[in-house]
């Protein structure tokens, strides 16, 4: 017996279906390398800085998307990395990346020790629609360290458009001085400090108690959860969300690597 799916009906596996991507990605946009110019550098924490780039003909992006960036040495050696976009979509012609200075990192090392305004680098994107948030559904954002970067694009978008859809951010950092974008956070954000905290604030990793209030009283239609950070943080945070009742198929995860 032969079972052949009709070409017009996309095959859906007989299992719980993974969350679909949020947008269709333009193939042309994604395949073109553009030369961006570094406009300014802004320090965020002792380890992280924000690099503002002017990108000619940037097609725009959705909060949560990333790009691929490449640096080229004189002998032709190329280093490529994927970085999340920190800025909101409607920042015409400019995008911002916030990069940790990774020890021995050949790309982040160049950004943190060599780069200066006027330098030119190549980027392609925006890429991948899976982790994008168009601002349509309630968003529960959970990040750690520089995992907050794509989530900040969502927070900024929410604020810039004065969206009424609920958005909450749980962000984990080692201490207040390591909290990227600390000055920009508002009542939508709950910081969690794992090593050092201001007086009166508990120290420790993200727990079920942090997540519970949001899932005990979810907004109508429930949350779309976006988790970003190291693999160990992503495993921990996503498990907490599932245990608190967030449906598995409404958790999107972006892990470093």
């Amino acid at each position: 017996m032969t079972e052949t799916a009709a070409p017009t009906t996309p095959f859906t596996p007989p299992t719980r279906f993974a969350v679909p991507g949020r947008i269709a990605v333009g193939e042309q946009t994604a395949s073109v390398w553009r030369t961006a110019t570094l406009v300014s550098v802004r320090r965020e924490t002792p380890r992280a800085s924000t690099f503002r780039l002017a990108v000619p003909d940037w097609a725009g992006h959705l909060p949560g998307q990333h790009l691929m960036l490449r640096l080229t040495a004189e002998d032709g050696h190329v280093a490529q990395r994927h970085y999340s976009i920190a800025s909101p979509p409607d920042d015409s012609g400019h995008i911002e990346l916030t990069l940790d200075h990774v020890e021995g990192g050949e790309v982040s090392g160049w950004f943190h020790t060599v780069a200066r305004p006027g330098d030119r680098i190549e980027v392609r994107g925006p890429l991948s629609g899976f982790f994008a948030w168009p601002g349509d559904r309630p968003a529960l954002l959970v990040g750690a360290g520089s995992g907050v970067v794509p989530l900040m694009s969502m927070v900024r978008h929410h604020r810039a458009r004065d969206l009424s859809v609920p958005l909450r951010l749980l962000v984990s950092a080692r201490g207040p001085e390591d909290l990227i974008y600390a000055r920009e956070f508002g009542p939508e954000t709950t910081p969690v400090f794992t090593r050092r905290a201001p007086g009166g604030v508990p120290v420790g990793r993200l727990t079920a108690a942090h997540v519970a209030p949001f899932l005990a009283a979810p907004p109508p239609g429930g949350w779309e959860a976006y988790v970003c950070g190291s693999n160990s943080f992503a495993e921990h945070a996503s498990r907490l969300l599932v245990e608190a009742g967030q449906p598995v198929d409404r958790i999107r995860i972006e892990r470093f690597g």
């Binding site: 052949t4 095959f11 596996p13 993974a18 991507g21 080229t72 280093a79 599932v242 995860i253």
Partner: protein
Amino acid sequence: MHVTRGFTGRPRVPDAGLPPGQYDAGKDWPVLSAEVTPHLAPGDWTFRIDGAVAEPRTWDWDAAHALPGSVYEGDIHCVTGWSKFGTRFGGVSLDAFLDAVRPDASATHAVAYAHTGYTANLPLADLRGGRAWIAFTYDDGKPLPAEHGGPARLLVPHLYFWKSTKWIAGLRLLDHDEPGFWERNGYHARGNPWEEQRYAGD
């Protein structure tokens, strides 16, 4: 080529095993799944092949392990840029499973799907000829950890690793190509690292 001012990069270690645009991750093995890691017991794991085949069939853990064992020793390449050299996976050649179901002459492609619902599309030819496995172990026979796709994952090491579907649940054979999860999100239909087929349009 646009040379970046002041960029020298890491020391050049000529390596014929490194596809274009990739770097050697060394001992690291990053985890990049986009969904919540499922913790599947071997007793709950099944693997099915159906679609354009003569005899659709489902294997459970014991039935799959009754097939002849096969080992892959070599490199793996992730689309995010890292490559990992000298990996060792143990499992069963996909040829053993495909021979049992006897694909139709019309079958040209497959959609691999996970117990989570993740999907990836592959040309059938890339799953044939001793180039694809169902892997149960890595290193010296250690069970594959859940975050790396355990108890069983598809292994197609000559393509970017998103094709090597974790928590593999089945293959549906088709007479046409149909994009999977990442392929619908902007990634390349085939994903050959040696041709740097990362994104649609590459």
